[in-house]
């Protein structure tokens, strides 16, 4: 059984091509079913996010044939000539495919390294396929190992820690000052893209109230509608500062619009509750000396950028640790795969030994017939135990061989030594119970 991966990602394909190969805008479940219906692969999973479209299949056929089928499927399903996307496609087999999936699940292959959504998306992709009975032993194991990798990387490294955008950095700071943001009041001065984003993040953390004021009232109204806040006249700004816990400023003013006197007047009324001012404007909107006021925390856009840079650097420093986890889990996965490959040989070997045992017992049947039933049962039991003990060590060894080549050599040797491929010559074990055929057929 081979694991085959074929797909495009932000590393190999431009966004317009990724859009045309996207499954997630249509029904991913239907895509998996369509693939399963026409391909020779026994198992399939489609992983589709805005940064990648990847198809994982498990097939008993030759990987080259499976790849050919996948290309044809992509071309037909998206009605796109293969020449268009073929140069941007990447493909991996077996351990390399698992390695890629593990890195994806860990967030190592993401546009922003360590971003947390991807693990959930991988889980969803698997659930969709599993729910339609399109997965089997190989993909089940591969994907569950990938979830394990994602979880380990998340808990054992700091790969996903620290905000990596200005707006998230501002929200993270607010949370460090206020704890939970539920019930806090926000004032937005001047409508801009980053202030809108920050306000939206704050809203998703449950702030009670977002007030927006702008020199141009229409801008304030528009932003208020966008983030679910309310607009307020420009002239009431100072009073609004007194009521706010978090102030975001982003006007195009050339001179500071919030002076130390403004903030002192506002904080005088509010006693000692902290006031967090985020000045995203360039040039700055808030007089820097405002930060000298005891309960005021003032951050400008450079301060936030610095935090982002530090966090990115910290994430980069964690990449090696995350890759090490991936490598560790991959070794475990390939060992599992190899042990599965040894299964047919092991089964055949056991069957051969058991056949011999039964034949010999039959041969002795007449001589043993004089024994009481318990003693006969004992003989049966002892011979079975001897066979089991003899085979225990070779079985373990076959399953634990370090690489595929060695495994092939050993399998071949065992097959020859015990003539496993051939029909046994003198063992007319007519009443020997055959092994369950489904187990014997296991890859």
């Amino acid at each position: 059984m081979h694991l085959v991966l074929l797909g495009v990602s932000h590393r190999t394909a431009p966004v317009d091509l990724r859009e045309r190969l996207d499954f997630s805008s249509r029904d991913v479940g239907a895509a998996v079913e369509a693939l399963a219906a026409r391909s020779s692969a026994a198992e399939s999973v489609v992983l589709s996010t805005c940064n990648r479209s990847e198809i994982y299949v498990a097939t008993t056929a030759d990987p080259t044939r499976a790849r050919e089928e996948l290309v044809a499927f992509l071309s037909d399903y998206h009605e796109l000539p293969r020449e268009v996307f073929l140069p941007h496609v990447f493909t991996y087999d077996d351990a390399a495919a698992a390695h890629h999936l593990f890195r994806v699940a860990a967030g190592l292959d993401s546009l922003v390294v360590g971003e947390p959504q991807i693990l959930g998306q991988v889980k969803d992709a698997f659930q969709v396929a599993a729910g339609r009975h399109c997965t089997g032993p190989l993909l089940n194991k591969t994907f569950h190992s990938a979830f394990g990798v994602g979880k380990r990387v998340r808990t054992e490294t700091a790969l996903g820690e620290g905000a990596v955008s200005v707006s998230f950095a501002a929200v993270a700071l607010a949370r460090k000052i206020f704890g939970r943001l539920r019930g806090r009041r926000v004032l937005v001065v001047g409508a801009g893209e980053i202030s809108a984003l920050t306000a939206q993040h704050l809203r998703s953390h449950g702030v009670a109230d977002i007030v927006i004021t702008s020199r141009t009232a229409a801008h304030a109204d528009a932003l208020a509608a966008e983030v679910g806040g309310r607009a307020m006249p420009w002239g009431e700004m100072t009073a609004a500062i007194a009521r706010a816990d978090i102030v975001i400023t982003a006007t195009g003013s050339q001179r500071p619009i919030i002076t130390r006197a403004d903030v002192e007047a506002a904080t005088g009324r509010r006693r000692a509750d902290p006031l967090f001012i985020i000045d995203i404007a360039v040039p700055r909107d808030v007089d820097p000396s405002v930060s000298e006021i005891e309960q005021v925390f003032l951050y400008n856009v450079d301060d936030l950028q610095n935090i982002v840079q530090e966090n990115l650097a910290r994430r980069a420093a964690e990449i090696a640790r995350a890759e090490a986890i991936v490598a560790e889990e991959l070794a475990r996965f390939t060992a599992w795969q190899r042990s599965r490959r040894a299964v047919p040989t092991v089964v055949a070997l056991r069957q051969r030994f058991d056949d011999i045992r039964r034949t010999e017992l039959q041969r002795l049947d007449t001589r043993l017939s004089g024994l009481p039933p318990e003693a006969r049962a004992r003989v049966e039991e002892v011979t079975r135990l001897i066979v089991e003990k003899l085979l225990l060590e070779p079985t373990e060894q076959l399953k634990a061989l370090p690489d595929e080549e060695t495994q092939a050599v050993y399998t071949e040797a065992v097959n020859r030594l015990f003539r496993l491929g051939e029909a046994p010559d003198d063992t007319a074990a007519g009443d020997a119970e055959p092994f369950p055929t489904d187990r014997a057929r296991e890859p």
Binding site: E156, A158, G179, E294
Partner: protein, 274 residues
């Protein structure tokens, strides 16, 4: 007998340190588990001593320290579990281990003056010990608040920033700890005063009782402590002294408590044997 809790406290302290430095959730869970076992072992030890001498063992400085450590461990565990915040353990638990060495090394003789064998005495001592445990927690919370405040204010988001809870959480926990401590301190001092009056009627010539007045350094410092914490609570309510000021006040208060517990206890008190 006090050695087993000491070993467990020390092990928990190490685990809290590892958890704080490396931020591994497993280390954190191990730390809490060890601390729970330490507290259980300590409960057992104190229970056995109580059975043996027929009262909670705090009639000398060593056993009082042991009881104090036990109460502090329980209050810290309560705080950790209710606030779901493990970061403070790295400051508190080493303190537990350090203090627990006193009863572990020199157990002291649990002998009690018949004059002290009154329910008042037990209320007096246990509420004061509990007050001091709360103040210890409050001061640690206050100091970490100051560290965290400085990092955010200076825009230097370093080692502690990623590890400590939010300023708001620290401030609220500090407020709670001070309030509980103040309540217990008030009860402890008031009961002490009432009981002195009663005891004087029974044994007018006892020299210790003669010395029970504000002139005794121990009593004076206890009242001073009460004053500091009363001011902290009042200032928070009326003048908005929360955050950094409240944090410094709780640290100051506990410094005075320590002064009372250690040097004054051993050298200058006239009325109290500990």
């Amino acid at each position: 007998m006090n050695v087993l809790p000491l070993i467990l406290y020390a092990a928990a302290a190490v685990a809290y340190g590892v958890h704080f430095a490396r931020r591994q959730p497993q280390a954190g869970r191990l730390a809490t588990t060890l601390l729970i076992f330490a507290a259980l072992a300590h409960t057992f030890v104190i229970g056995m001593q109580t059975m043996e001498v027929r009262h909670v063992p705090f009639a000398n400085a060593s056993s009082a320290t042991s009881t104090f450590v036990w109460l502090l461990a329980l209050s810290y565990l309560y705080l950790e579990i209710t606030a779901d915040e493990r970061a403070m353990g790295v400051f508190i638990v080493p303190m537990l281990a350090g203090l627990q060495t006193i009863p572990a090394v020199s157990p002291g003789v649990e002998r009690i003056d018949p004059l002290l064998d009154s329910p008042w005495f037990w209320v007096h001592v246990s509420s004061l010990l509990f007050a001091y445990a709360s103040f210890a927690l409050a001061s640690v919370l206050g100091l970490t608040y100051v560290v965290q405040f400085k990092e955010i204010k200076k825009k230097h988001l370093g080692y502690f920033y990623t590890r400590l809870p939010s300023l708001q959480t620290l401030d609220v926990m500090n407020e709670r700890a001070v309030a509980i401590g103040w309540l217990c301190l008030t009860v402890g001092v008031a009961v002490g005063a009432i009981w002195t009056g009663q005891a004087r009627a029974v044994a007018p010539d006892d020299p210790n009782l003669q010395a029970m007045s504000l002139n005794d350094p121990k009593i004076f410092v206890a009242v001073l402590t009460w004053g500091v914490y009363s001011f902290a609570i009042l200032a928070r309510q009326t003048m908005g002294w929360s955050g950094r000021r409240a944090a410094w006040l709780s640290a100051l208060g506990f410094a005075i408590v320590l002064l009372n517990f250690l040097p004054i206890n051993y050298f200058v008190t006239t009325s109290h044997t500990f």
